[in-house]
Amino acid sequence: MSKKAESRNDSDSYVTADGRTIGPAVMEMRNITLRFGGVVAISDISFDIREGEIRAIIGPNGAGKSSMLNVINGFYHPQEGEVLYKGEVRKPMKPYQIAHQGIARTFQNIALFKGMTTLDNIMTGRLTHMKQGMISQMIWKGKAEREEIENRAIVEKVIDFLEIQSIRKTPVGRLPYGLQKRVELGRALAAEPSLLLLDEPMAGMNVEEKEDMSRFILDVNDEFGTTIALIEHDMGVVMDLADRVVVMDYGRKIGDGTPDEVRNNQDVIDAYLGVSHD
């Protein structure tokens, strides 16, 4: 299933060839510069992510993609530049406050809670929505139990969607790698995020698993309208899934546009082929 979306430079909504509505920019990075001591990880990068689209961030190893995702996530604070989320400049915040704003993510090296079952892990994704206080929880009967059951129902929908019913009660530490990645996606989805960040969701997967994961990502975007930003190395996946692509190399942006535009960009080709920079 390939997508042929035309890019727009203005912020009007448009409808893609396969019927999805892409809205104005939900996240904007303006002149972001990120330094770690003397090392410049990101250097003056600007791009936006539009509502309802799938935006890929690609580039050779060490380009600064994960750092970029961490800036979007609010885990790193850029020394220069601004991040605008839903039109507002984002003040420096703690990561858990950002989660409450509707941004969820998965991690490159799977950050599941190994001591808990699949069900419990995905339930943790609902924590931003669970409001009952301690006394109510201690008593359990009544409001706390009702809230638990409501959230359980939502989590079960996510479990159905990802087809992982049979491993509900299995401690995640015992699951194979591919299933763990799926559970981690489930945890992010359970939060019903406006913006979903995926850090190399296909890493370490075989062809079948990649097809499954691609299907899930497209379905999430299609059914729930979730905006998705993902880092990925597999070019085939990126070309198929993404509406637009940002290409990074050595901390700079070297390409920004639809997959076709980027594929034909000479700078991008050079970066991947390793042409020396003078």
């Binding site: 001591g115 809230e147 059951i149 992010a188």
Partner: protein, 358 residues
């Protein structure tokens, strides 16, 4: 063959979430309750009550408390003894300062004071983690013991430095002081343990339990998915200290009657409670109780076996006790970090399919 859940389908999330989803377990639980509330109190001897049952009930509460902090939330504390002391001394000050206050209210308030103190000591937990936090709690342990020893206000400036519980009643039964009767004391402690265990179970199976476990398993990821780490840790410290404080108050007022802080609440107690949850099972309410039963019961059994039956001198029994405990700690940490509770769960799983192997 014995342990069946065939035919037991859950048709609602509520029934799936209950504490004892399998009918056989529920029956077992009710039988245990019958024992605890009826059979044991009517048949226990004074010796067994004082040596085993009362300490079990009281330390069971402390074990649950420490398990919440260490087993569920992953914050290792070696200061439980000191916090029990906070509970005991708060109880003492309340009893002596407000002679008309109901003893149960005193005990609950003591828990509250300890919860507050626990909060204070929990504040550094955001910056210091894991092993370093354990060392900080060790500092708290020594400091608290010194404070209760030295600052006269805490023991009402008595000459001996000891604190003694004045006489109090519940429903007409004397439960504290020299004339306390064992049976009412037993029931008070049992009811406290039972209710506190239920509250703990409820807390740990819901959102709070998950927040705590997320912090324990990977606190950075937990923060990124929306858990406020400081609040999660502080609530764990507060709830845990509440339990440990109540345990200390009960130990002082209802069990020992008089307490000298260096003896009753030393670091040995901190280790005792820690061993209870390691052997019983970290992250399990049931495990806390199993561990408490073991750590209280084993020395008594050993002494009865070696001293009473075989006639060996008491100090050998004490030495062997240390060796057994130390050995078990190491063995459990190597083989089954989730303690006896996990072993029990594995046995049950095997029984489910017995006589088949898998």
């Amino acid at each position: 063959m014995f342990y069946r859940e065939v035919g037991e389908f859950k048709t609602s999330y509520r029934s799936d979430q209950q504490t004892f989803p399998i009918a056989l377990d529920r029956t077992g639980f009710l039988v245990t309750l019958a024992f605890a509330f009826v059979i044991i109190p009517l048949t226990m001897s004074e010796y067994w009550a004082q040596a085993v049952f009362l300490p079990f009930l009281i330390f069971g509460i402390a074990a649950i408390g420490l398990n919440i902090l260490t087993g569920y939330c992953g914050q290792v504390s070696l200061g439980s003894g000191g916090f029990m002391a906070v509970g005991a001394y708060s109880c003492y000050k309340l009893m002596t300062g407000f002679p008309d206050m109901n003893i149960v209210v005193c005990i609950l308030l003591s828990g509250g004071v300890t919860a507050f103190v626990g909060l204070l000591f929990g504040l550094p937990s955001l910056r210091i983690k894991g092993f370093y936090l354990a060392v900080a709690t060790l500092a708290a342990q020594f400091f608290l013991v010194w404070m209760f020893n030295k600052v006269g206000w805490f023991y009402n400036y008595s000459a001996s430095g000891q604190i003694t519980a004045p006489e109090r009643e519940i429903f007409g039964f004397i439960v504290t002081g020299a004339k306390a009767e064992t049976l009412p004391v037993y029931y008070v402690c049992l009811v406290m343990l039972f209710s506190l265990a239920i509250l703990a179970r409820n807390l740990t199976r819901g959102a709070f339990g998950r927040k705590w476990m997320a912090i324990r398993d990977m606190d950075i990821a937990a923060e990124i998915i929306g858990v406020n780490p400081l609040m999660a840790k502080l609530t764990a410290f507060a709830v845990s200290s509440f339990y440990v404080g109540i345990s200390g108050a009960l130990l002082f007022a209802l069990y020992l009657g008089a307490v000298e802080v260096g003896e009753a609440f030393s670091i040995q107690k901190s280790f005792l409670i820690l061993f209870m949850i390691i052997i019983g099972g970290l992250g399990s309410i049931f495990g806390s109780l199993v561990g408490a039963a073991f750590m209280i019961g084993m020395p008594v059994l050993l002494k009865n076996l070696l001293v009473t039956n075989l006639g060996w001198p008491g100090d050998i029994a004490a030495h062997l006790e240390f060796m057994i405990v130390g050995l078990l700690i190491v063995v459990f940490l190597i083989l089954e970090p989730h303690g006896l509770a996990m072993l029990w769960r594995i046995i049950k799983e095997k029984l489910r399919i017995w006589p088949f192997a898998h």
